[in-house]
């Protein structure tokens, strides 16, 4: 189980961890405007928001998304530009957890 972590960034509290249902709900609320990906300093793959959302939620994780998840260093640059106030950071955390679990399953 993930431990919770909180960090302060500016005036807005950025929460690293949210529960699975919360993340799922936020993914549903994502309007797909790509603002988070435009702001991301760690993104060097041709990833679009639809693929990222789908693979964060469930199913197999493709190689580009896995690489992106590994290179994400949770800086929180994606949280501020979101027009609907979602926390992409915790979604990325969730993706990393899924990646980790799928890796274990493979082994």
């Amino acid at each position: 189980m993930l431990r919770t972590g909180l960090s302060k960034r500016g005036s807005k509290t950025v929460s690293l961890h949210k529960t699975g249902p919360q993340v799922a709900q936020e993914l549903v609320a994502c309007i797909g405007c790509n603002e988070c990906l435009l702001a991301c300093p760690a993104l060097d793959e041709a990833i679009t928001i639809d693929v990222l959302n789908r693979e964060t939620l469930s199913g197999p994780i493709s190689t580009p998304v896995a690489r992106f998840a590994r290179s994400c260093f949770q800086c929180g640059a994606c949280v501020a530009p979101c027009p609907v106030g979602l926390s992409r950071e915790s979604m990325m955390m969730w993706l990393k957890v899924r990646l980790l679990r799928s890796g274990w399953e493979k082994m």
Binding site: M1, T4, L6, G10, S11, K12, T13, S15, K18, T19, G20, P21, Q22, A24, Q25, E26, V28, A29, I31, G32, C33, N34, E35, L38, T48, I49, D50, V51, R54, A80, C82, P83, V84, G85, L86, S87
Partner: protein, 639 residues
């Protein structure tokens, strides 16, 4: 390709009209819930589903076309969703088929109308309304058109006073175009924002570089050799421009409701109940086209937002497949970026001015307004550089939680939702940590079952329900107030009423089944099934359970608006109990009701989608008995 499919398919279990985000979400979700059904999307649109909020960035060149896709390319094929490119023209609800353009028929088991909306545009009698260079931004083609024109435009006029207009203004400014923004009223988004908030937004737009004209209407458009040269306003002013963008709102596409042989209620949109059923059995509506009741005011209006469309699509899918609905639609929620400001409105901030306490805060370049009854939040408006945790605030309002302790942080915008919810549920969180297990859904489920079972009892004296409500709920309670309000003002009380629902034979059957099987889950599910297609106002599952919860059962929490009781920290969207209920659910009576549809599907060219690991239902979850469906159909005919 599509032609081939179109020829071989002439009916399907689930037919969805429109491949907007609501339609495709419904299709994908229906595929997940019912892997063995045939799902068909009928659409006029020739491109795959896109994320419409991203179109603005697409227009100004920040995104390319591939980044617009709402689902990865090829999702439809991978999910065995057949897309037919045709226009649906009429619904024959009695025989359950639709006619496509060209007169071809297409049978359906369940039908979802997700035809979306169309832009209102300029009034057609406005002088010069047909010049080249006047665009309404709504579809992908409009934005492609805008993108092509941007290079040769120096000045542009944006007409309209909504969030769409402001986004358009900002994207034009991004391209260094001089923008004149004409608003008819004095304030921006007058139904959602109050004066100070609107002033703040207009101010920020002006600072961003646009010229804002409030109280200004367009009298005509001046052209030169067929293209736009300027706009004449009611202040006898000529604003020169090469481009006019009309953002005067949208209206729902209700032509199918008009061309339905049974009467389908529609006004500004197709009226649906809180589970997206239209007034015609087996037909649902979702997305921009569906007019949904606001649980707080009791008024029907379409919620033309991407988030609303997605959640409605999901709900429509679970309704069409007969799975009990996991989510509630809840209250209106609108979060967006207006220029440099983030706006969030949840619930109704401006209504009930006399009964609510209004708290405002306008410090640090931000503005917040809260409408509070007792210590329950009923409306929240926030404008500022950062967005608060918007979904958490929606949840606080929907569940009617007390905000006594967090009033200040809500007002200051420093509300930490995560901490709040974990503190509220310290007990279950602690148990989670010590036992290392998730909070078990059993207790929740037991409570829900108890509620549903008891919901069978009071049907005899259903007439007294409003009285119960009035007597037992304190007047200051927002939920009671809304329910009461709704019953008084609702002209739709007759809308979903159906005499067959209360038939004593049916009731007897439920009771028998419940006693003989001894499986309360099945019984309650039967009860749900019988509801489908024949909804009546007082007997809708959610409503009844809500009434039970607030009057008969001593619920530990105060009454909430519609949401089921959430037992733990983990129930942000409370999927746990519903999943359990699904597993033992009998087949949806209505979807299988045309036997030959089912059979044709088995025979032919449609492979069943591949089994997904662990997600698959047990094979006996859908026994093939068509007893229910048969009787259902008969009743319908008799009706």
């Amino acid at each position: 390709m599509t032609e081939l499919v179109a020829k071989s398919v002439d009916s399907a279990d689930l037919v969805i009209i429109g491949n907007g985000i609501a339609g495709l979400t419904a299709a994908v979700e229906a595929r997940r819930l019912a892997p063995e059904r045939r799902v068909v999307i009928i659409t006029e649109q020739s491109h795959p589903t896109i994320n419409t909020p991203a179109l603005k960035q697409f227009a100004i060149g920040k995104l390319n076309r591939e980044q617009l896709l709402a689902y990865p390319a090829g999702t439809e094929q991978a999910q065995f969703i057949h897309v037919i490119n045709a226009r649906a023209e009429e619904i024959h609800a009695q025989e359950r088929y639709i006619t496509l353009r060209g007169g071809r028929g297409f049978g359906y088991g369940e039908l979802l109308i997700a035809t979306g909306s169309t832009p209102t545009g300029l009034p057609p009698n406005l002088p010069g309304a047909d010049f080249d260079g006047i665009l309404t931004l709504h579809r992908l083609y409009d934005y492609l058109d805008l993108r092509r024109r941007l290079g040769e435009v120096e000045e542009a006029v944006v007409i309209g006073g909504g969030a769409h207009a402001i986004e358009t203004v900002m994207s034009l400014l991004y391209w260094g175009i001089r923008v004149h923004w004409l608003l008819r009223g004095d304030t921006f988004l007058s139904r959602m924002l109050d004066r100070p908030a609107s002033d703040m937004v207009l101010d920020s737009i002006q600072r961003a570089g646009a010229r804002v004209y409030t109280g200004t209407e367009t009298l005509g458009i001046v052209g030169r050799v067929g293209t736009v040269a300027g706009v004449v306003t009611n202040h006898q002013e000529l604003i020169p421009c090469q481009l006019v963008l009309v953002c005067t709102g949208t209206s729902a596409v209700t032509s199918l409701a008009r061309h339905c042989d049974l009467k389908m209620k529609h006004k500004q949109g197709i009226l649906v109940d809180d589970q997206l059923r239209t007034s015609v059995p087996h037909i649902y509506a979702a997305g921009d086209v569906a007019a949904i009741k606001d649980p707080q005011t009791g008024l029907y209006a379409p919620r033309a937002q991407s988030y609303a469309a997605v959640s409605q699509g999901r709900m429509a899918a679970s309704m069409m497949t007969g799975a009990s609905s996991v989510e509630e639609l809840g209250i209106p929620w609108h979060a967006t970026r207006l220029g440099g400001l983030s706006m969030l409105t949840v619930g109704n901030v401006l209504q009930w001015q006399d009964t609510t306490t209004t708290l405002t805060d306008s410090s640090r370049n931000s503005y917040r307004r809260m409408a509070v009854i007792d210590d329950r939040l009923v409306g929240y408006l926030s404008l500022g550089p950062a967005q608060p945790d918007s979904l958490a605030i929606k949840r606080i309002i929907e569940e009617g939680l007390s905000i006594r302790d967090i009033k200040k942080s809500l007002l200051k915008g420093t509300f930490d939702a995560r901490r709040y919810f974990s503190h509220r549920r310290t007990h279950s969180a602690q148990r989670m940590v010590t036992t290392g297990k998730l909070p078990v859904a059993e207790e929740l489920e037991r409570r829900m079952l108890a509620m549903k079972n008891q919901a069978l009892q009071p049907q005899g004296n259903r007439q007294e329900e409003p009285m119960h409500l009035v007597r037992t709920m304190p007047g200051a309670d927002p939920v009671a107030a809304t329910n009461f309000l709704e019953r008084n003002t609702d002209e739709d009380l007759q809308l979903f009423a159906d005499p067959f629902v209360a038939a004593p034979v049916e009731l007897e059957r439920f009771r028998e089944q419940r006693e003989t099987t001894g499986a309360p889950v099945g019984a309650s599910a039967d009860w749900l099934t019988a509801e489908r297609g024949f909804p009546s106002d007082g007997k809708r599952p959610v409503k009844t359970s809500h009434i039970i919860e607030s009057t008969l059962v001593n619920a530990p929490e105060p009454a909430r608006s519609g949401r089921r009781p959430s037992g733990s920290l983990w129930s942000y969207s409370s999927p746990l109990p519903a999943v359990k209920v699904n597993k033992t659910q009998p087949p949806a009576a209505t979807t299988a009701s045309v036997p030959d549809i089912q059979q044709r599907g088995r025979k032919g060219q449609f492979k069943a989608p591949p089994q997904k690991n662990g997600k698959q239902r047990p094979s006996d979850a859908y026994p093939s008995s068509s007893l229910w469906s048969y009787s259902e159909k008969k009743r319908m005919k008799g009706h």
